[in-house]
Protein backbone atom coordinates (compact mmCIF):
# COMPACT_ATOMS: atom_id res chain seq x y z
CA UNK A 1 0.00 0.00 0.00
CA UNK A 2 2.69 2.49 1.03
CA UNK A 3 4.79 1.64 -2.01
CA UNK A 4 1.80 2.40 -4.26
CA UNK A 5 1.35 5.68 -2.41
CA UNK A 6 5.05 6.42 -2.90
CA UNK A 7 4.84 5.93 -6.67
CA UNK A 8 1.69 8.05 -6.74
CA UNK A 9 3.42 10.86 -4.84
CA UNK A 10 6.46 10.67 -7.09
CA UNK A 11 4.36 10.87 -10.26
CA UNK A 12 2.38 13.71 -8.71
CA UNK A 13 5.44 15.77 -7.77
CA UNK A 14 7.28 15.25 -11.08
CA UNK A 15 4.11 15.79 -13.09
CA UNK A 16 3.15 18.95 -11.18
CA UNK A 17 6.63 20.47 -11.48
CA UNK A 18 6.97 19.56 -15.16
CA UNK A 19 3.48 20.83 -15.93
CA UNK A 20 4.14 24.08 -14.03
CA UNK A 21 7.30 24.71 -16.09
CA UNK A 22 5.53 23.61 -19.28
CA UNK A 23 2.75 26.14 -18.72
CA UNK A 24 5.38 28.88 -18.57
CA UNK A 25 7.04 27.49 -21.73
CA UNK A 26 10.21 26.61 -19.85
CA UNK A 27 10.84 23.29 -21.57
CA UNK A 28 14.38 22.61 -20.30
CA UNK A 29 13.25 22.98 -16.69
CA UNK A 30 10.20 20.80 -17.37
CA UNK A 31 12.52 18.13 -18.74
CA UNK A 32 14.78 18.55 -15.71
CA UNK A 33 11.81 18.03 -13.39
CA UNK A 34 10.90 14.82 -15.23
CA UNK A 35 14.52 13.70 -15.15
CA UNK A 36 14.72 14.31 -11.41
CA UNK A 37 11.57 12.26 -10.89
CA UNK A 38 12.98 9.50 -13.12
CA UNK A 39 16.24 9.53 -11.15
CA UNK A 40 14.36 9.15 -7.88
CA UNK A 41 12.29 6.31 -9.31
CA UNK A 42 15.42 4.54 -10.56
CA UNK A 43 17.13 4.91 -7.19
CA UNK A 44 14.07 3.47 -5.45
CA UNK A 45 14.03 0.51 -7.86
CA UNK A 46 17.71 -0.12 -7.07
CA UNK A 47 17.06 0.11 -3.33
CA UNK A 48 19.23 3.22 -2.89
CA UNK A 49 17.30 4.69 0.01
CA UNK A 50 19.98 7.28 0.80
CA UNK A 51 19.01 9.18 -2.35
CA UNK A 52 15.67 10.27 -0.81
CA UNK A 53 17.04 13.28 1.10
CA UNK A 54 18.98 14.80 -1.86
CA UNK A 55 15.95 14.18 -4.08
CA UNK A 56 13.66 15.99 -1.65
CA UNK A 57 16.05 18.95 -1.57
CA UNK A 58 16.30 18.88 -5.37
CA UNK A 59 12.53 18.84 -5.90
CA UNK A 60 11.99 21.66 -3.40
CA UNK A 61 14.75 23.64 -5.12
CA UNK A 62 13.02 23.04 -8.46
CA UNK A 63 9.72 24.30 -7.01
CA UNK A 64 11.42 27.38 -5.52
CA UNK A 65 13.14 28.09 -8.85
CA UNK A 66 9.81 27.65 -10.58
CA UNK A 67 8.33 30.45 -8.53
CA UNK A 68 11.41 32.56 -9.38
CA UNK A 69 10.82 31.93 -13.08
CA UNK A 70 7.10 32.62 -12.68
CA UNK A 71 5.73 29.08 -12.96
CA UNK A 72 2.26 28.31 -11.66
CA UNK A 73 2.25 28.61 -7.83
CA UNK A 74 -0.40 25.95 -7.16
CA UNK A 75 1.50 23.37 -9.23
CA UNK A 76 4.82 24.23 -7.58
CA UNK A 77 3.13 23.87 -4.20
CA UNK A 78 1.77 20.51 -5.31
CA UNK A 79 5.31 19.57 -6.31
CA UNK A 80 6.63 20.40 -2.80
CA UNK A 81 3.78 18.51 -1.09
CA UNK A 82 4.24 15.48 -3.35
CA UNK A 83 8.03 15.44 -2.81
CA UNK A 84 7.54 15.62 0.95
CA UNK A 85 5.07 12.72 0.81
CA UNK A 86 7.35 10.64 -1.45
CA UNK A 87 10.32 11.22 0.88
CA UNK A 88 8.21 10.26 3.90
CA UNK A 89 6.80 7.14 2.23
CA UNK A 90 10.22 5.95 1.15
CA UNK A 91 11.33 6.09 4.80
CA UNK A 92 8.15 4.29 5.84
CA UNK A 93 8.81 1.47 3.37
CA UNK A 94 12.27 1.00 4.90
CA UNK A 95 10.87 0.87 8.42
CA UNK A 96 8.05 -1.52 7.57
CA UNK A 97 10.59 -4.21 6.70
CA UNK A 98 11.22 -4.54 10.46
CA UNK A 99 7.59 -5.13 11.41
CA UNK A 100 7.31 -8.54 13.08
CA UNK A 101 4.21 -9.54 11.10
CA UNK A 102 2.18 -8.54 8.08
CA UNK A 103 -0.66 -7.46 10.35
CA UNK A 104 1.67 -5.22 12.38
CA UNK A 105 2.96 -3.70 9.13
CA UNK A 106 -0.60 -3.05 7.94
CA UNK A 107 -1.49 -1.36 11.24
CA UNK A 108 1.54 0.90 11.05
CA UNK A 109 0.86 1.67 7.41
CA UNK A 110 -2.78 2.56 8.05
CA UNK A 111 -2.01 5.04 10.84
CA UNK A 112 0.88 6.52 8.94
CA UNK A 113 -0.99 7.02 5.68
CA UNK A 114 -3.93 8.61 7.47
CA UNK A 115 -1.60 11.03 9.29
CA UNK A 116 0.42 11.81 6.18
CA UNK A 117 -2.67 12.32 4.05
CA UNK A 118 -4.13 14.75 6.56
CA UNK A 119 -0.88 16.70 7.05
CA UNK A 120 -0.21 16.88 3.30
CA UNK A 121 -3.74 18.02 2.49
CA UNK A 122 -3.69 20.65 5.23
CA UNK A 123 -0.23 21.79 4.16
CA UNK A 124 -1.30 22.11 0.55
CA UNK A 125 -4.50 23.97 1.46
CA UNK A 126 -2.60 26.30 3.79
CA UNK A 127 -0.07 26.98 1.05
CA UNK A 128 -2.85 27.57 -1.47
CA UNK A 129 -4.53 29.97 0.95
CA UNK A 130 -1.23 31.81 1.38
CA UNK A 131 -0.96 32.14 -2.39
CA UNK A 132 -4.47 33.50 -2.73
CA UNK A 133 -4.84 35.70 0.35
CA UNK A 134 -2.73 38.86 0.27
CA UNK A 135 -1.65 40.54 3.49
CA UNK A 136 0.41 43.74 3.55
CA UNK A 137 3.23 43.58 6.12
CA UNK A 138 5.27 46.49 7.46
CA UNK A 139 9.09 46.21 7.07
CA UNK A 140 9.56 46.19 10.86
CA UNK A 141 7.11 43.31 11.16
CA UNK A 142 8.96 41.48 8.39
CA UNK A 143 12.28 41.90 10.22
CA UNK A 144 10.63 40.75 13.44
CA UNK A 145 9.30 37.66 11.68
CA UNK A 146 12.78 36.97 10.29
CA UNK A 147 14.31 37.22 13.77
CA UNK A 148 11.55 35.02 15.11
CA UNK A 149 12.25 32.44 12.41
CA UNK A 150 16.00 32.34 13.18
CA UNK A 151 15.59 32.16 16.96
CA UNK A 152 12.81 29.59 16.52
CA UNK A 153 15.11 27.40 14.47
CA UNK A 154 17.90 27.47 17.04
CA UNK A 155 15.44 26.85 19.89
CA UNK A 156 13.86 23.96 17.99
CA UNK A 157 17.22 22.32 17.34
CA UNK A 158 18.25 22.69 21.01
CA UNK A 159 14.93 21.22 22.15
CA UNK A 160 15.15 18.26 19.81
CA UNK A 161 18.74 17.53 20.87
CA UNK A 162 17.74 17.62 24.55
CA UNK A 163 14.62 15.51 24.11
CA UNK A 164 16.23 13.01 21.75
CA UNK A 165 19.03 12.36 24.24
Amino acid sequence: MSIVAFWGSLILTSGALALGYAFSQDWPMAALALLAGGGWALAQRRGQAQIAAPMLVGHIALAALGRWFGANGALMLLGVTGALAAWDLQRLCERLAYAPSAQAARDLERVHLARLGLVSALGYLAGLAALIIQVRLHLALLLLLGLFAISGLSYGVRYIRRAGG
Binding site: A53, L84, L96, A99, P100, R115, V157
Partner: protein, 431 residues
Protein backbone atom coordinates in the same frame (compact mmCIF):
# COMPACT_ATOMS: atom_id res chain seq x y z
CA UNK B 1 17.06 14.04 14.32
CA UNK B 2 18.80 14.04 10.95
CA UNK B 3 15.45 14.07 9.13
CA UNK B 4 14.03 16.72 11.42
CA UNK B 5 17.01 18.99 10.78
CA UNK B 6 16.76 18.48 7.05
CA UNK B 7 13.10 19.48 6.96
CA UNK B 8 13.63 22.35 9.40
CA UNK B 9 16.46 23.74 7.29
CA UNK B 10 14.40 23.47 4.10
CA UNK B 11 11.40 25.14 5.72
CA UNK B 12 13.46 27.92 7.25
CA UNK B 13 15.37 28.40 4.02
CA UNK B 14 12.14 28.98 2.14
CA UNK B 15 10.74 31.20 4.91
CA UNK B 16 13.85 33.35 5.05
CA UNK B 17 13.96 33.53 1.26
CA UNK B 18 10.33 34.61 1.21
CA UNK B 19 10.93 37.24 3.89
CA UNK B 20 14.08 38.52 2.19
CA UNK B 21 12.43 38.74 -1.23
CA UNK B 22 9.12 39.91 0.24
CA UNK B 23 7.43 37.14 -1.76
CA UNK B 24 4.46 35.25 -0.41
CA UNK B 25 4.95 32.48 -3.02
CA UNK B 26 8.09 31.19 -1.29
CA UNK B 27 6.46 31.51 2.10
CA UNK B 28 3.58 29.44 0.75
CA UNK B 29 5.99 26.72 -0.44
CA UNK B 30 7.35 26.42 3.11
CA UNK B 31 3.92 25.81 4.63
CA UNK B 32 3.58 22.04 3.89
CA UNK B 33 6.98 21.50 5.47
CA UNK B 34 6.13 23.64 8.50
CA UNK B 35 2.86 21.79 9.00
CA UNK B 36 4.60 18.42 8.72
CA UNK B 37 7.16 19.45 11.35
CA UNK B 38 4.50 20.90 13.62
CA UNK B 39 2.36 17.76 13.42
CA UNK B 40 5.37 15.59 14.21
CA UNK B 41 6.37 17.75 17.19
CA UNK B 42 2.85 18.15 18.55
CA UNK B 43 1.99 14.47 18.29
CA UNK B 44 5.44 13.28 19.33
CA UNK B 45 5.57 10.46 21.85
CA UNK B 46 6.23 10.69 25.55
CA UNK B 47 9.19 8.81 26.97
CA UNK B 48 8.07 5.16 26.71
CA UNK B 49 7.14 3.33 29.91
CA UNK B 50 7.77 -0.29 29.16
CA UNK B 51 7.77 -3.57 31.00
CA UNK B 52 10.15 -5.99 29.35
CA UNK B 53 10.63 -9.71 29.85
CA UNK B 54 13.26 -11.83 28.18
CA UNK B 55 13.17 -15.62 28.33
CA UNK B 56 15.80 -17.99 27.02
CA UNK B 57 14.88 -21.56 26.07
CA UNK B 58 18.02 -22.67 27.95
CA UNK B 59 20.68 -20.96 30.02
CA UNK B 60 23.20 -23.75 29.66
CA UNK B 61 23.73 -25.52 26.36
CA UNK B 62 26.31 -27.48 24.43
CA UNK B 63 28.30 -25.84 21.70
CA UNK B 64 26.33 -24.77 18.56
CA UNK B 65 23.02 -25.75 20.12
CA UNK B 66 20.36 -23.22 19.11
CA UNK B 67 18.77 -21.18 21.89
CA UNK B 68 15.47 -19.43 21.34
CA UNK B 69 15.14 -15.98 22.89
CA UNK B 70 11.73 -14.41 23.40
CA UNK B 71 11.36 -10.78 24.37
CA UNK B 72 8.02 -9.40 25.37
CA UNK B 73 7.65 -5.61 25.57
CA UNK B 74 4.48 -4.35 27.26
CA UNK B 75 3.56 -0.70 26.97
CA UNK B 76 2.54 0.68 30.37
CA UNK B 77 2.36 4.30 29.28
CA UNK B 78 0.54 6.30 26.61
CA UNK B 79 -0.13 4.61 23.26
CA UNK B 80 2.95 4.47 21.05
CA UNK B 81 2.37 4.98 17.34
CA UNK B 82 5.73 3.49 16.45
CA UNK B 83 7.96 1.56 18.79
CA UNK B 84 11.28 0.20 17.63
CA UNK B 85 12.82 -2.38 19.93
CA UNK B 86 16.28 -3.84 19.56
CA UNK B 87 17.65 -6.53 21.84
CA UNK B 88 21.42 -6.10 21.75
CA UNK B 89 23.09 -9.45 21.09
CA UNK B 90 26.10 -10.41 23.17
CA UNK B 91 29.30 -10.31 21.17
CA UNK B 92 30.17 -13.67 19.64
CA UNK B 93 26.65 -15.05 19.41
CA UNK B 94 25.35 -15.77 15.95
CA UNK B 95 21.78 -14.97 14.95
CA UNK B 96 20.43 -18.09 13.27
CA UNK B 97 16.77 -17.40 12.88
CA UNK B 98 14.36 -14.50 13.39
CA UNK B 99 15.28 -10.89 14.11
CA UNK B 100 16.50 -9.29 17.30
CA UNK B 101 14.61 -6.10 16.50
CA UNK B 102 11.06 -5.20 15.64
CA UNK B 103 8.85 -2.24 14.87
CA UNK B 104 5.19 -1.91 15.74
CA UNK B 105 2.37 0.25 17.00
CA UNK B 106 1.75 -0.54 20.66
CA UNK B 107 -1.38 0.72 22.42
CA UNK B 108 -1.53 1.08 26.21
CA UNK B 109 -1.26 -2.42 27.64
CA UNK B 110 -0.28 -3.79 24.22
CA UNK B 111 2.63 -6.16 23.69
CA UNK B 112 5.36 -6.23 21.09
CA UNK B 113 7.16 -9.55 20.86
CA UNK B 114 10.53 -10.54 19.50
CA UNK B 115 11.55 -14.12 18.90
CA UNK B 116 14.92 -15.14 17.58
CA UNK B 117 17.35 -18.02 17.73
CA UNK B 118 21.04 -17.74 18.49
CA UNK B 119 23.94 -20.12 18.79
CA UNK B 120 27.56 -19.74 19.65
CA UNK B 121 30.90 -21.27 20.38
CA UNK B 122 32.00 -22.23 23.89
CA UNK B 123 31.81 -19.31 26.29
CA UNK B 124 29.72 -17.24 28.63
CA UNK B 125 27.45 -14.68 27.01
CA UNK B 126 25.64 -11.85 28.73
CA UNK B 127 22.69 -9.81 27.52
CA UNK B 128 22.77 -6.42 29.20
CA UNK B 129 20.67 -3.94 27.34
CA UNK B 130 17.61 -3.50 25.22
CA UNK B 131 17.02 -0.32 23.23
CA UNK B 132 13.57 1.09 22.69
CA UNK B 133 12.81 4.05 20.44
CA UNK B 134 9.34 5.54 20.37
CA UNK B 135 8.41 7.90 17.56
CA UNK B 136 5.35 9.62 16.16
CA UNK B 137 3.50 8.10 13.22
CA UNK B 138 5.56 10.20 10.80
CA UNK B 139 8.73 8.77 12.30
CA UNK B 140 10.38 12.15 12.67
CA UNK B 141 10.53 12.90 16.36
CA UNK B 142 11.99 10.14 18.51
CA UNK B 143 12.53 9.31 22.14
CA UNK B 144 15.12 6.68 22.95
CA UNK B 145 15.52 4.56 26.04
CA UNK B 146 18.20 2.04 26.91
CA UNK B 147 16.79 -0.51 29.33
CA UNK B 148 19.05 -2.71 31.45
CA UNK B 149 17.95 -6.31 31.24
CA UNK B 150 20.47 -8.95 32.20
CA UNK B 151 20.55 -12.56 31.11
CA UNK B 152 23.31 -15.08 30.78
CA UNK B 153 23.91 -18.00 28.48
CA UNK B 154 26.60 -20.54 29.11
CA UNK B 155 27.80 -22.57 26.16
CA UNK B 156 29.61 -25.52 27.62
CA UNK B 157 32.55 -27.27 26.03
CA UNK B 158 31.72 -30.60 24.46
CA UNK B 159 33.58 -33.56 25.90
CA UNK B 160 35.15 -36.62 24.31
CA UNK B 161 33.82 -40.08 25.17
CA UNK B 162 36.19 -41.67 27.65
CA UNK B 163 36.33 -45.09 29.26
CA UNK B 164 37.15 -45.35 32.94
CA UNK B 165 40.67 -44.17 33.76
CA UNK B 166 42.85 -45.85 36.30
CA UNK B 167 44.93 -43.56 38.49
CA UNK B 168 47.32 -44.52 41.29
CA UNK B 169 47.90 -41.57 43.59
CA UNK B 170 50.11 -41.93 46.64
CA UNK B 171 47.29 -41.00 48.99
CA UNK B 172 43.61 -41.77 48.89
CA UNK B 173 40.55 -40.92 50.97
CA UNK B 174 38.73 -43.22 53.38
CA UNK B 175 35.72 -43.90 51.17
CA UNK B 176 35.48 -46.74 48.69
CA UNK B 177 36.26 -45.73 45.16
CA UNK B 178 38.16 -46.72 42.04
CA UNK B 179 41.77 -45.77 42.95
CA UNK B 180 44.01 -48.52 44.32
CA UNK B 181 44.92 -47.41 47.85
CA UNK B 182 48.22 -49.34 48.33
CA UNK B 183 46.63 -50.91 51.43
CA UNK B 184 45.56 -54.49 52.08
CA UNK B 185 41.93 -55.20 52.77
CA UNK B 186 38.74 -55.92 50.89
CA UNK B 187 39.13 -55.40 47.19
CA UNK B 188 39.52 -57.18 43.88
CA UNK B 189 43.21 -57.10 42.96
CA UNK B 190 45.59 -59.44 44.85
CA UNK B 191 47.80 -57.42 47.21
CA UNK B 192 49.67 -59.86 49.52
CA UNK B 193 49.54 -62.69 52.06
CA UNK B 194 49.44 -62.43 55.84
CA UNK B 195 48.91 -64.82 58.74
CA UNK B 196 45.34 -65.87 59.33
CA UNK B 197 43.50 -63.89 62.00
CA UNK B 198 40.28 -65.01 63.61
CA UNK B 199 37.36 -63.47 61.73
CA UNK B 200 38.96 -63.70 58.31
CA UNK B 201 36.55 -65.22 55.78
CA UNK B 202 37.45 -68.82 55.03
CA UNK B 203 37.36 -68.21 51.31
CA UNK B 204 40.24 -65.77 51.70
CA UNK B 205 42.56 -68.43 53.11
CA UNK B 206 45.50 -68.90 50.81
CA UNK B 207 45.72 -72.71 50.77
CA UNK B 208 48.87 -72.84 48.71
CA UNK B 209 50.86 -70.73 51.23
CA UNK B 210 49.26 -72.56 54.16
CA UNK B 211 50.33 -75.93 52.72
CA UNK B 212 53.95 -74.86 52.88
CA UNK B 213 53.67 -74.08 56.60
CA UNK B 214 51.84 -77.00 58.29
CA UNK B 215 51.33 -75.22 61.62
CA UNK B 216 49.95 -71.92 60.30
CA UNK B 217 47.21 -70.62 58.09
CA UNK B 218 47.61 -67.69 55.72
CA UNK B 219 45.06 -65.30 54.32
CA UNK B 220 45.19 -63.52 50.95
CA UNK B 221 44.91 -59.73 51.08
CA UNK B 222 43.42 -57.61 48.35
CA UNK B 223 44.22 -54.04 47.51
CA UNK B 224 41.68 -51.60 48.83
CA UNK B 225 40.14 -49.22 46.29
CA UNK B 226 39.25 -45.77 47.47
CA UNK B 227 38.46 -42.37 46.11
CA UNK B 228 41.27 -39.94 45.48
CA UNK B 229 41.94 -36.24 45.20
CA UNK B 230 42.47 -35.22 41.60
CA UNK B 231 43.82 -31.79 40.74
CA UNK B 232 43.20 -30.89 37.13
CA UNK B 233 45.42 -28.15 35.68
CA UNK B 234 44.56 -26.63 32.32
CA UNK B 235 47.31 -24.74 30.59
CA UNK B 236 45.55 -21.72 29.08
CA UNK B 237 48.61 -19.61 28.40
CA UNK B 238 48.61 -17.62 25.18
CA UNK B 239 51.43 -19.66 23.71
CA UNK B 240 49.51 -22.87 24.34
CA UNK B 241 46.56 -21.62 22.31
CA UNK B 242 47.86 -22.35 18.83
CA UNK B 243 45.49 -21.58 15.98
CA UNK B 244 45.20 -23.26 12.62
CA UNK B 245 42.39 -21.73 10.59
CA UNK B 246 39.38 -21.61 12.85
CA UNK B 247 40.70 -24.45 15.01
CA UNK B 248 42.41 -23.83 18.31
CA UNK B 249 44.58 -26.24 20.24
CA UNK B 250 43.24 -24.71 23.45
CA UNK B 251 39.72 -25.80 22.49
CA UNK B 252 40.93 -29.40 22.23
CA UNK B 253 42.66 -29.04 25.60
CA UNK B 254 39.48 -27.64 27.16
CA UNK B 255 37.39 -30.49 25.79
CA UNK B 256 39.96 -32.96 27.09
CA UNK B 257 39.86 -31.33 30.53
CA UNK B 258 36.05 -31.48 30.51
CA UNK B 259 36.11 -35.18 29.63
CA UNK B 260 38.74 -36.00 32.24
CA UNK B 261 36.93 -34.15 35.02
CA UNK B 262 33.68 -35.87 34.09
CA UNK B 263 35.36 -39.27 34.15
CA UNK B 264 37.09 -38.69 37.50
CA UNK B 265 33.94 -37.31 39.09
CA UNK B 266 31.84 -40.19 37.83
CA UNK B 267 34.24 -42.53 39.64
CA UNK B 268 33.51 -40.66 42.87
CA UNK B 269 36.82 -38.81 43.14
CA UNK B 270 37.20 -35.32 44.54
CA UNK B 271 38.23 -33.08 41.66
CA UNK B 272 39.51 -29.52 41.61
CA UNK B 273 40.41 -27.41 38.57
CA UNK B 274 43.09 -24.80 38.12
CA UNK B 275 43.13 -22.80 34.90
CA UNK B 276 46.58 -21.37 34.43
CA UNK B 277 46.58 -18.50 31.95
CA UNK B 278 45.52 -14.90 32.33
CA UNK B 279 45.21 -15.46 36.09
CA UNK B 280 44.74 -18.41 38.42
CA UNK B 281 41.15 -19.50 38.04
CA UNK B 282 40.72 -22.00 40.84
CA UNK B 283 37.68 -24.23 41.26
CA UNK B 284 37.80 -25.65 44.75
CA UNK B 285 37.81 -29.48 44.88
CA UNK B 286 34.45 -31.18 45.26
CA UNK B 287 32.41 -34.21 44.38
CA UNK B 288 29.52 -35.13 42.15
CA UNK B 289 27.31 -33.40 39.66
CA UNK B 290 27.49 -29.97 41.25
CA UNK B 291 31.24 -30.01 41.01
CA UNK B 292 30.97 -31.19 37.42
CA UNK B 293 28.77 -28.19 36.70
CA UNK B 294 31.20 -25.82 38.43
CA UNK B 295 34.10 -27.19 36.42
CA UNK B 296 32.20 -27.01 33.15
CA UNK B 297 31.26 -23.40 33.90
CA UNK B 298 34.89 -22.55 34.60
CA UNK B 299 35.96 -24.26 31.38
CA UNK B 300 33.25 -22.46 29.42
CA UNK B 301 34.67 -19.12 30.59
CA UNK B 302 38.26 -20.04 29.76
CA UNK B 303 40.19 -17.74 27.47
CA UNK B 304 43.82 -17.82 26.50
CA UNK B 305 45.73 -15.50 28.80
CA UNK B 306 48.68 -13.37 27.84
CA UNK B 307 50.26 -12.71 31.22
CA UNK B 308 53.96 -12.10 31.74
CA UNK B 309 53.68 -13.53 35.27
CA UNK B 310 52.21 -16.81 34.12
CA UNK B 311 54.29 -17.17 30.98
CA UNK B 312 56.03 -20.21 32.47
CA UNK B 313 54.69 -22.82 34.89
CA UNK B 314 57.07 -21.55 37.61
CA UNK B 315 54.21 -19.98 39.55
CA UNK B 316 52.06 -23.07 39.58
CA UNK B 317 50.56 -23.00 43.08
CA UNK B 318 51.04 -26.61 44.09
CA UNK B 319 49.72 -25.96 47.61
CA UNK B 320 46.23 -25.82 46.13
CA UNK B 321 46.39 -29.59 45.85
CA UNK B 322 46.55 -32.00 48.81
CA UNK B 323 50.00 -33.58 49.26
CA UNK B 324 50.63 -36.81 47.36
CA UNK B 325 47.41 -36.47 45.41
CA UNK B 326 46.91 -37.07 41.69
CA UNK B 327 47.60 -34.11 39.44
CA UNK B 328 46.47 -34.17 35.84
CA UNK B 329 47.91 -31.46 33.63
CA UNK B 330 46.52 -30.71 30.18
CA UNK B 331 49.22 -28.82 28.34
CA UNK B 332 50.96 -28.92 24.94
CA UNK B 333 54.29 -29.01 26.87
CA UNK B 334 57.15 -26.59 26.33
CA UNK B 335 60.79 -27.16 27.13
CA UNK B 336 60.86 -24.76 30.08
CA UNK B 337 57.87 -26.58 31.67
CA UNK B 338 59.79 -29.84 32.10
CA UNK B 339 61.73 -28.89 35.29
CA UNK B 340 58.53 -27.60 36.94
CA UNK B 341 56.71 -30.85 36.22
CA UNK B 342 59.63 -32.89 37.51
CA UNK B 343 59.62 -30.78 40.70
CA UNK B 344 55.93 -31.58 41.12
CA UNK B 345 56.68 -35.26 40.91
CA UNK B 346 59.56 -34.83 43.38
CA UNK B 347 57.14 -33.33 45.90
CA UNK B 348 55.29 -36.63 45.92
CA UNK B 349 52.41 -35.91 43.57
CA UNK B 350 51.35 -38.50 41.04
CA UNK B 351 51.49 -36.53 37.83
CA UNK B 352 49.71 -37.34 34.61
CA UNK B 353 50.37 -35.07 31.64
CA UNK B 354 47.85 -35.09 28.81
CA UNK B 355 49.64 -33.28 26.04
CA UNK B 356 47.81 -32.28 22.86
CA UNK B 357 50.54 -32.53 20.24
CA UNK B 358 51.17 -29.00 18.85
CA UNK B 359 53.39 -30.30 16.06
CA UNK B 360 50.77 -32.67 14.63
CA UNK B 361 48.21 -29.88 15.04
CA UNK B 362 50.22 -27.26 13.15
CA UNK B 363 51.82 -29.45 10.52
CA UNK B 364 48.89 -29.38 8.08
CA UNK B 365 48.88 -25.58 7.91
CA UNK B 366 52.52 -25.29 6.83
CA UNK B 367 53.22 -25.68 3.10
CA UNK B 368 55.37 -28.67 2.17
CA UNK B 369 59.06 -27.96 1.73
CA UNK B 370 62.45 -29.38 2.59
CA UNK B 371 62.72 -26.87 5.44
CA UNK B 372 59.37 -28.05 6.82
CA UNK B 373 60.56 -31.67 6.91
CA UNK B 374 63.70 -30.64 8.76
CA UNK B 375 61.87 -28.32 11.15
CA UNK B 376 59.28 -30.98 11.96
CA UNK B 377 62.01 -33.53 12.64
CA UNK B 378 63.81 -31.14 15.00
CA UNK B 379 60.57 -30.21 16.78
CA UNK B 380 59.59 -33.85 17.14
CA UNK B 381 63.02 -34.77 18.43
CA UNK B 382 62.80 -32.03 21.02
CA UNK B 383 59.32 -33.11 22.09
CA UNK B 384 60.30 -36.76 22.36
CA UNK B 385 63.26 -35.78 24.53
CA UNK B 386 61.02 -33.70 26.81
CA UNK B 387 58.52 -36.53 27.12
CA UNK B 388 61.28 -39.02 27.80
CA UNK B 389 62.70 -36.80 30.56
CA UNK B 390 59.28 -36.60 32.15
CA UNK B 391 58.73 -40.34 31.97
CA UNK B 392 62.12 -40.97 33.52
CA UNK B 393 61.02 -38.81 36.43
CA UNK B 394 57.93 -40.99 36.88
CA UNK B 395 55.41 -38.76 35.18
CA UNK B 396 52.77 -40.44 33.05
CA UNK B 397 52.54 -38.76 29.67
CA UNK B 398 49.74 -39.08 27.16
CA UNK B 399 51.03 -37.75 23.86
CA UNK B 400 47.80 -36.95 22.08
CA UNK B 401 47.53 -36.09 18.40
CA UNK B 402 44.26 -34.17 18.49
CA UNK B 403 42.95 -35.69 15.26
CA UNK B 404 42.84 -39.06 17.05
CA UNK B 405 40.32 -39.94 19.78
CA UNK B 406 41.46 -38.95 23.27
CA UNK B 407 40.19 -42.24 24.67
CA UNK B 408 42.47 -44.17 22.35
CA UNK B 409 45.49 -42.04 23.32
CA UNK B 410 44.72 -42.32 27.04
CA UNK B 411 44.27 -46.03 27.09
CA UNK B 412 47.21 -46.83 24.86
CA UNK B 413 49.46 -44.71 27.10
CA UNK B 414 48.03 -45.55 30.51
CA UNK B 415 47.34 -49.20 29.70
CA UNK B 416 51.00 -49.87 29.12
CA UNK B 417 52.13 -47.78 32.04
CA UNK B 418 49.73 -49.28 34.52
CA UNK B 419 51.76 -52.48 34.50
CA UNK B 420 54.71 -50.45 35.72
CA UNK B 421 52.74 -48.87 38.55
CA UNK B 422 52.67 -45.44 37.02
CA UNK B 423 56.37 -45.18 36.29
CA UNK B 424 57.12 -44.80 32.62
CA UNK B 425 60.27 -46.52 31.56
CA UNK B 426 59.60 -47.50 27.99
CA UNK B 427 61.80 -46.11 25.30
CA UNK B 428 60.54 -44.44 22.19
CA UNK B 429 62.37 -44.12 18.92
CA UNK B 430 63.66 -40.64 18.28
CA UNK B 431 62.32 -40.36 14.75
Amino acid sequence: MRHFLLLALLAYGLLLLGLAAVSREWLALALPLVLYLTASLALGPESPRLHIMRTLSAHRVAQDTPVTVRVSVTNQGAPLEELWVEDLLPEGLELRDGQNHALGAVPTGGVLELCYTVSGARGEYAWNELRATASDALGLFRRRRAISLHDRLLVLPGGFPLHRLSIRPQRTHGFAGPAPARLGGPGVEFYGVREYQPGDPLRWINWRASARHPRALFTSEFEQERIADVGLILDARKRSALHVGDQSLLEHAIRAAASLSESFLQDGNRVGLLIYGWFLDWTFPGYGKEQSERILRALARTRAGDSIVFETLDYLPVRFFPPRSQIVIVSPLFGDDVPTLIRLRARGYSVLLVSPDPIAFEISSIPASAEKVLAVRIARLERVLHIRALRRAGIQVVDWAVDKPLDQAMHSALGRLSHLHGVALQQEPLT
